[in-house]
C-alpha cells in the first residue's frame, strides 16, 4: 500500500487545532498525532497543548559548549602563558588566575553561543530539501497541517479536514 503525505491549509489556529484534536481522538483509524506536523507563520505558544510535548535538546549542546569554552579557555591561556615563561614576570604569577577568569568567562559565552547555534541548525531540521507540498501561504497568514498516512486513510482524512473548513488540500505520494 502506498504512503501519502497530505497538506491542509487553514485560515486560523482554532480550526487547525480542532482538526488535530479530532486526529488525537482517533477519528481517522491508523493516524495518530505523531504523524502530524504543523506549520505556521508565527511561533504558536499553545503548540504543546495541541501536538503534545516533543523533545528539544538544544540546551544540552549549550551546556556542552559552555563547559568546553571555560575548559578550553583555561587550557589555551595557561598553555600560552606557560610557553611565554621566558617573559620577565616581575614576581607576578606566570598563570594569573584573576585575569584568566575574565577571559574564560568570555570563552564560555563564545563557545556556548556557537554550540547553541550549530545545535539549532542541525536539530531543527533546517537544510532539509523542501517538500513539493510546501505552500508559500504558510509564510503569509495560513496554518498548515501535514500528515503522513496510508492510502486507505486519504478519504477519511480529507473528510475530517473539510469538516474543519480547510481552505485547500494537497497531497503527494511519498513511497
Amino acid at each position: 500500500m502506498s504512503k501519502r503525505r497530505m497538506l491542509a491549509l487553514f485560515s486560523d489556529f482554532d480550526e487547525a487545532h480542532a482538526a488535530i484534536s479530532d486526529i488525537r481522538r482517533n477519528e481517522v483509524p491508523g493516524v495518530t498525532v505523531d504523524d502530524v506536523t504543523m506549520k505556521s507563520p508565527i511561533e504558536h505558544p499553545d503548540v504543546e497543548e495541541v501536538l503534545g510535548e516533543r523533545p528539544v535538546h538544544i540546551q544540552k549542546f549549550t551546556l556542552f559548549g559552555a563547559i568546553f569554552g571555560v575548559t578550553f579557555g583555561f587550557v589555551f591561556l595557561s598553555a600560552a602563558q606557560a610557553a611565554f615563561m621566558v617573559q620577565p614576570q616581575g614576581g607576578k604569577a606566570v598563570i594569573p588566575l584573576p585575569s584568566n577568569f575574565i577571559l574564560m568567562y568570555e570563552m564560555l559565552i563564545f563557545f556556548a553561543v556557537w554550540s547553541t547555534f550549530f545545535a539549532f541548525l542541525f536539530l531543527s531540521g533546517l537544510f532539509k530539501k523542501r517538500s513539493a507540498l510546501y505552500s508559500e501561504k504558510i509564510s503569509l497568514d495560513q496554518i498548515a497541517i501535514i500528515v503522513e498516512i496510508d492510502e486507505s486513510a486519504v478519504d477519511p482524512m480529507k473528510t475530517l479536514f473539510q469538516k474543519h473548513k480547510t481552505l485547500e488540500i494537497r497531497e503527494e505520494v511519498i513511497q
Partner: protein, 471 residues
C-alpha cells in the same frame, strides 16, 4: 471618565498587509533614503582621504604624541562600543521580560549593534598607524618574541568584543530566519537567491519553531551578561591604570549606563529616520516611541546619578591629582565641553519627560542627536583631560584633535550610516513574524478581556441575588 489607552499597534492589521508593507519598504523607500545614503558615502570618502594622509604622512598628522597617545580614536572607539549596547542588550532584556512592544523595533536596533561594533573595530586599526602589522596583536605563539600580556585589559577587550560581535550577529541572524523565509517566498531574481540561501530551508514547522524559541531564549540569556561584561572591560582599559580621573571604582557601571544611554538615543534617531524613509507609521507608532523615550530618560537619570557619584567620590577622596583634574574639567580649557556634556546628557533628557515633546518627531530627532553629542563629549572628557593633566605637570597641555582625526571620526558616522542603510534596504527592518505574533496575542488577550468583562457584568447581578437570598 477614563481616558482610552492608546495602543502600541493596530490589532486589526491583517497579516498579509504586514508582509506587503515590509517587503515594499525594501523596494521603494522615500527619496530621502537615497540622499542620506549619498551623504554617508561622502562622509566615508572624507575619512578615506584622511586615513590616506595619515598612512602616507605618518601619525604626526593625527597629533598623536606623548602624552596624547590615543585621544580621539579611543574616544570614538568607546563611543561606538557604547552605541552597540542598547540594540542587543535591550532586545534581549525586553524579550526575557516579555515586553512585546520591542517587536517592531528590535531588528534595526540589533543591526545597529552589529554595525556599531564593526565601526568600533576600525579604530584600534586606525590608531595603530601601521595597519599592516595588525596581526601582531593576535595572541598566538610565534618566534617573534612578542608576548601577549593576558593581564592587560586591552587583550580582554579583544576577547570580549569579538565574542560580543559574533554573538550579536548570530542573535540578529537567528531572529531574522523566519523573515528571510518570507522574503524568499515573495521575491524574485537576486533577492530570491540570497534569501533562499540565508533562510536555510525554514518552513515554519512546529519542530523549527520549538527549537527557535529555545535558541532565542538561550542566546538572550547569554547576551545580557556578555554585553555588561564588554563595556565593563572597556572601562577597565582606563580604570586599571593609575591615571587621575581614570582610576575610578564606579567606572564599569558608569560605562554600561553611558553605553545604554547613547544606544537608546541612537534607537530614537534611527526609529524616526526609518519611520519616515519606509513609511512605517503603522509599526513604529507613537506609543512605542513614547516607551523608548521613557526608557532613555530613565537611563539618562542613572547616568547622571553615576556622574554625581564619581564627582562626589573624587571630592571626598581628597586625592590631589583627581581633585585638581575635576576642577580643571569644570573650569579649565575643557570647561565648555564639560558643561555641554552635562547639558546634553543630564538636562536635555528632561525633554523626554514631556509628553507633547515625546510625540513630536522633529523635536525628538534633534534631541536624540544632541543626547549622542553629549555622550561623545563624555568619552572625550574621560580621555583628553586626564592625558592633558596627568601626574607630571611639565607635560600639561590642551588637545583638541587634528583635522585628520576629526575627519576620520566624522567619516566613521558615515561608515555606520552607510552599512546600516544598506542593511535596511536588503533585509526587513521590521520583524514581520514578530509583529504578527504581537497582533495575534494582543487581539487574543483583548478578546479574553472582553469575555471577562462580560462575565463581570453578569457577576454583580448574581451576587445581588445571592445577597438578597442571604438577607
Amino acid at each position: 471618565m477614563t481616558m482610552a489607552t492608546e495602543k502600541d499597534i493596530n490589532e486589526q492589521i491583517a497579516w498579509a498587509k504586514i508582509n506587503t508593507d515590509v517587503l515594499k519598504s525594501m523596494e521603494n523607500p522615500r527619496p530621502a533614503y537615497w540622499v542620506t545614503l549619498f551623504v554617508c558615502v561622502a562622509m566615508v570618502s572624507c575619512a578615506v582621504l584622511a586615513e590616506y594622509i595619515q598612512y602616507t604622512e605618518g601619525m604626526g598628522t593625527a597629533n598623536l604624541n606623548n602624552p596624547h597617545m590615543w585621544d580621539m580614536y579611543i574616544s570614538a572607539f568607546v563611543f561606538w562600543i557604547g552605541m552597540s549596547h542598547s540594540g542587543t542588550l535591550l532586545s534581549a532584556i525586553l524579550h526575557l521580560i516579555h515586553a512585546d512592544w520591542r517587536k517592531p523595533i528590535y531588528r534595526f536596533a540589533e543591526a545597529m549593534t552589529t554595525f556599531s561594533l564593526l565601526t568600533a573595530g576600525l579604530f584600534p586599526m586606525i590608531h595603530l598607524g601601521r595597519v599592516w602589522n595588525l596581526y601582531w596583536v593576535l595572541p598566538y605563539v610565534s618566534d617573534r618574541g612578542i608576548w601577549p600580556n593576558f593581564r592587560s585589559p586591552l587583550v580582554w577587550d579583544a576577547f570580549a568584543i569579538s565574542t560580543y560581535l559574533t554573538a550579536s550577529m548570530l542573535f540578529l541572524f537567528v531572529g531574522m530566519i523566519p523573515d528571510l523565509a518570507i522574503c524568499r517566498d515573495n521575491t524574485t531574481g537576486w533577492r530570491k537567491k540570497l534569501y533562499t540561501l540565508l533562510s536555510l530551508g525554514w518552513v515554519g514547522s512546529d519542530r523549527q519553531w520549538r527549537h527557535f524559541r529555545k535558541i532565542y531564549l538561550l542566546m538572550a540569556c547569554f547576551l545580557i551578561p556578555l554585553a555588561v561584561s564588554v563595556h565593563s572591560i572597556v572601562s577597565a582599559d582606563f580604570a586599571m591604570s593609575i591615571m587621575p580621573g581614570w582610576h575610578v571604582t564606579s567606572f564599569p557601571p558608569y560605562f554600561v549606563a553611558g553605553a545604554l544611554y547613547s544606544g537608546c538615543a541612537a534607537i530614537i534617531t534611527l526609529f524616526i529616520l526609518l519611520r519616515y524613509f519606509f513609511r512605517f507609521e503603522e509599526y513604529m507608532t507613537l506609543p512605542i516611541m513614547e516607551k523608548t523615550c521613557k526608557l532613555t530618560f530613565a537611563i539618562a537619570m542613572v547616568w547622571t546619578y553615576l556622574n554625581l557619584i564619581e564627582f562626589a567620590s573624587v571630592w571626598y577622596g581628597h586625592d590631589v591629582y583627581n581633585k585638581e583634574l575635576l576642577i580643571a574639567k569644570a573650569t579649565g580649557a575643557y570647561a565648555w565641553i564639560f558643561w555641554t556634556m552635562i547639558f546634553c546628557g543630564s538636562v536635555l533628557p528632561f525633554a523626554l519627560a514631556v509628553r507633547s515633546l515625546r510625540r513630536h518627531m522633529p523635536t525628538m530627532f534633534v534631541v536624540s542627536l544632541f543626547l549622542n553629542l553629549g555622550m561623545f563629549l563624555e568619552r572625550w572628557m574621560i580621555v583628553a583631560p586626564t592625558l592633558s593633566m596627568s601626574q607630571e605637570p611639565h607635560q600639561w597641555d590642551i588637545m583638541y584633535g587634528s583635522i585628520v582625526e576629526w575627519a576620520i571620526v566624522f567619516g566613521s558616522f558615515g561608515w555606520f550610516g552607510m552599512l546600516f542603510l544598506i542593511f535596511v534596504k536588503v533585509f526587513p527592518s521590521v520583524s514581520m513574524y514578530e509583529v504578527k505574533e504581537m497582533v495575534f496575542h494582543r487581539k487574543r488577550s483583548a478578546g479574553e478581556e472582553d469575555l471577562e468583562r462580560m462575565t463581570d457584568h453578569a457577576k454583580p447581578a448574581t451576587q445581588t441575588t445571592t445577597g438578597g437570598e442571604g438577607a
